[in-house]
Amino acid sequence: MRIFQSWRFPANWTIFRLDDRLLLILVAIIVGSCSGLASVVLNRSLMLMFDWFHHLRHYWWIFVLPAIGAALSSLFLEKIVKEGAGHGVPEVIYSVSRYGGLLRFRSSFSRLISSALTIGSGGSAGPEAPVVISGAAIGSNIAKYFSLNDRQRVTLVGCGAAGAISSIFNAPIAGMVFAIEVIIGEWKSVNIVPIAIASVAGTEISRILQGNQIPFSHRLFNISHMDILACVGLAVLTAVASILLTRLLRSMDKIAKKLPAPLWIRAAIGGCAVGLIGLFLPEVLGKGYHVVQTTIEGAFSQGLVIVGVATIAKIVATALTLGWGGSGGIFAPCLVIGCLAGLTYHHGLALLWPSVTWVNQGCFALLGMAGLISGMLQAPLTGIFLIVEITGGYEVILPLIIVSAITTSLCHYIEPAAYYMKELVDYGHLLRPGTDARVLSDLNVSELVEKDCIAVTQNMLLRDFINIVKKSHRNYFPVENEETGHFMGIIHLDDIRQYLFNPVMYDTVFLGQIMNTKVEVIDPDDDLADVIRKMDANRLFSMPVVVNNRFIGLISKGHLLDQYRRELMVQTSQSI
């Protein structure tokens, strides 16, 4: 019985109580392993589904398969697990920003199943974002089990995301960088160490179960100065492709929402359209990694026009799959689109300057992949490390940096928020630790209310009021109705200054005559950012908090600053 009770409270185990960092590292190993396992399960499921459906690809009716997959995926998400469509990464970032990384348990498996249905049936999407939300939810729920605090939970959410990405790409550094750069947004050793450990655990699980394989092996590239110079043009092309994909995804989503039909029908329509494209260009179907491998090996033999059309077709197919309600991520489509964009660019260069000896097309394909990832995520480090790791090619690091940096900058200039963050930024939900918005969001009006104010009534004489002022250390005095207790207005010391040196007025002026009745009031449920905006706009130092016509207390900028500093110190400290 005692054993059972101790099992129920793992946070009380002696080993975990030795040191909080040790606890976090040990739990990170568990989280990394579980999320790595989730990635392997999804990967294996997709391979299995590919094998099942591969022999059907030559039938004319096969174009309905992505429609069936997308519809089932949508029905599963909507009716069974009751979650929204999409890949879920914004949900993870939102939860990290606002709720200390709290995620539902169902998210740890829901997207795995839905994306397996969408991608396995031929939908143009990737399995990476679904494993990110699964890994993150695993981390969050394990943190809940161990009764960890918000900061530790957020770190474990990052561990889950890192373990998942590391496992699915066999790329531990990319997983680690992605979790910190995109999910957590905070480079601190307290986060980095557990996330690094989780990345290693996730990668090891993948290597044990699937073997230590580089996803896209390649031969050595001999990169010249001309090639490096040409990277600038490629960066522009990948930036254009990124913007096109981002905007098409959003416009498809808007168009789909206008259709008065259930979600699963919309998803089926999108899937059907993808299936039709796939009849003519099978490269657009599924993850599409075979296209990447063929291109990197230099064996993709199609000409400029076909490759260019395939690039656009893949962009459209991805927008149709994800925008119309299919489930999956944009990592894999980005890699394929980037690869095709790089190949198109290489063919274009060869056509325009046939006398120049350009590096192999595979190199431009790699650079295009990094460009698309960097452009879509606006996370250049993730793009660089991912491509280095999944291709095992360090020699392309210089052009990789150039393409990633330029693409990120261009995309940021045109689309200030990355694809994952757009909605969060629009609604003010992207709250990175230590920023003004985050500090304010972690404070609320109720905890800032100062209640040591002395209320006065409208029928009080100035003389009585002066006696009250003598006892109070505040400058503001709420005026309440004698009978109902309702808030009527406020008196500031400045309001009585003109009467103070004229004792004749002491017994002739009533507070009701001098109180300020046009007062902006605050509700305890108001956002603090809105409260500060009101204070700034009206040049106020304090504002009354009123509920149901009753005065609750005052909010002052001085007290707010004290609390703000305290919260900022908590958020920016290195302790966990």
């Binding site: 019985m1 059972f4 009770q5 129920r8 009751k82 979650e83 929204g84 999409g86 949900e91 939102y94 939860s95 606002r98 709720y99 709290l102 995620l103 539902r104 169902r106 809940k144 009764s147 609604y427 939900h429 609320n444 109720s446 305890p524 449920d525 956002d527 509920v547 149901n548 009753r550 609750i552």
Partner: protein
């Protein structure tokens, strides 16, 4: 003070009964009811260490055109100023977050499953999760509006039972209604319970607020429950002493909720009561 009760409004005859019950509770305990009229069939509640997704059954979305009007009418008839909750944050476009800084929450026995599952003996899984995670007590209303005119606290000596007792004192103090305490004597003696009260320094409050302390001696709890007034608000802790106390509700709690049709005010493990 601005104490608030969260009520999820259902625009149906059943929802009306529940709202009337919430309004009555609010008036007696001097809290402001805050009404949420759902616009989608699910929402999230983020607690300190848990997030609970509430999947509402379709009856919560019925007749949206008249929902606001009906709720306002009931509140105004009772002389309560209508306050409605408008979610400010959304985890996903159709998934609003409802904040959890309330002092009470009112629930029917099930807010997730079919409305048919509102009878005795069934408390829906989401209501159980809310009770487990919330820092506020949950008012599980009787199926039909029924005024309560006294308070009955079930006290078994657990931590939750002490919280329930303190909550009973508090409601007794605010509402001025008589308070009775019920304790089932199983293997323990009456003196042992009195000793527990002494150890917690609650003797003064017991003598001040409690009308009668009933020590139930019948063999089964069901037999003893006949002594509980039909018009009492029953206050009790959700979990007892047993081994699985943080997984499943206590056995007494289950028996009480499946036997009596009174309004129940359930205290979960995260609630800390102040008198």
């Amino acid at each position: 003070m601005n104490h608030q009760l969260l009520h999820i409004f259902r625009n149906s005859s059943l929802g009306r009964e529940t709202l009337l019950q919430s309004i009555y509770f609010s008036k007696q305990t001097k809290v402001s009811p805050v009404i949420y009229i759902p616009k989608s069939n699910k929402f999230l509640m983020y607690f300190e260490n848990d997030v609970v997704q509430i999947d509402l059954d379709n009856s919560y979305l019925m007749f949206p055109d008249t929902a606001l009007e009906h709720a306002t009418e009931l509140l105004e008839q009772a002389g309560v100023e209508p306050r409605f909750l408008d979610p400010k944050h959304y985890t996903a476009s159709t998934l609003p977050d409802i904040h959890t800084n309330f002092d009470y929450m009112s629930c029917p026995r099930s807010i997730v499953d079919l409305s048919s599952k509102i009878g005795l003996g069934y408390i829906g899984p989401r209501v159980r999760r809310i009770v487990k995670s919330a820092q506020f007590p949950v008012l599980i209303t009787s199926p039909v509006y029924k005024k309560w005119e006294s308070i009955a606290v079930f006290f078994g000596g657990s931590v939750n039972a002490f919280n329930a007792l303190k909550l009973g004192f508090r409601i007794c103090r605010i509402s001025g209604m008589p308070l009775d305490v019920f304790t089932l004597l199983e293997n323990k003696s009456q003196e042992s319970y009195e000793k527990l009260i002494k150890e917690e320094n609650l003797e003064t409050e017991m003598s001040h607020y409690v009308n009668n302390w009933h020590f139930l001696k019948n063999r089964t709890l069901e037999e003893n429950l006949y002594d509980v007034p039909h018009n009492a608000l029953v206050v009790l802790g959700a979990y007892g002493h047993h081994l699985l106390k943080d997984i499943v509700f206590g056995s007494k709690m289950e028996k009480i909720q499946s036997t009596i049709s009174n309004n129940l005010l359930i205290v979960g493990p995260n609630y800390t009561a102040a008198i």
